[in-house]
Symmetry: C2
Subunit: 90 residues, 2 copies
């Protein structure tokens, strides 16, 4: 999947990301990946459900991947953060 089909979920309002995903599908993409880490994971799930139930009714979940990312902390230690990748496809 091309990198431009990936939407990273951050701290903005949920509907910003919904709009971004819907734009990808309306622009002709057949699959979109929604990625999030830590607390943004709940928002990523909200985004994909809102897209699927309200805006692009013909997409479904192709895959959901859950992983742990090892991020370097400021003090040289390592922080483990959970991440999710939600693959939506027509």
């Amino acid at each position: 999947m091309a990198e431009e089909n990936t939407i990273y979920i951050g701290k903005k309002a949920t509907m910003n990301y919904v709009l971004a995903v819907v734009s990808q599908f309306n622009g002709g993409c057949d699959d979109v990946c929604i990625k999030a880490r830590g607390r943004a994971i709940s928002r990523a799930v909200d985004v994909s459900e809102i897209v699927r139930n309200r805006f692009v009714r013909d997409v479904d979940y192709k895959d959901v991947k859950i992983e742990t990312e090892h991020l370097p902390g400021l003090d040289g230690s390592e922080a483990n953060v959970s991440s999710i990748e939600i693959y939506l496809a027509r």
Copy 2:
């Protein structure tokens, strides 16, 4: 899957739920379902990653289901809440 193999994630500390899942596996269960709604979804993902990476190394994701639940609000209206079901199995 039997109902007792299901762990519902709420607002307690993450490690409480990790302990509950690990106990299920150590008690002889071969699969456990971790369920969460709304903001607890991030915690559910943390719980499953901690179990898998630190405590029960031989389990993996069997399935991850994302849905929307329609809950009745106090004023008779309906609230939509995202939910996740994470299936871990040996």
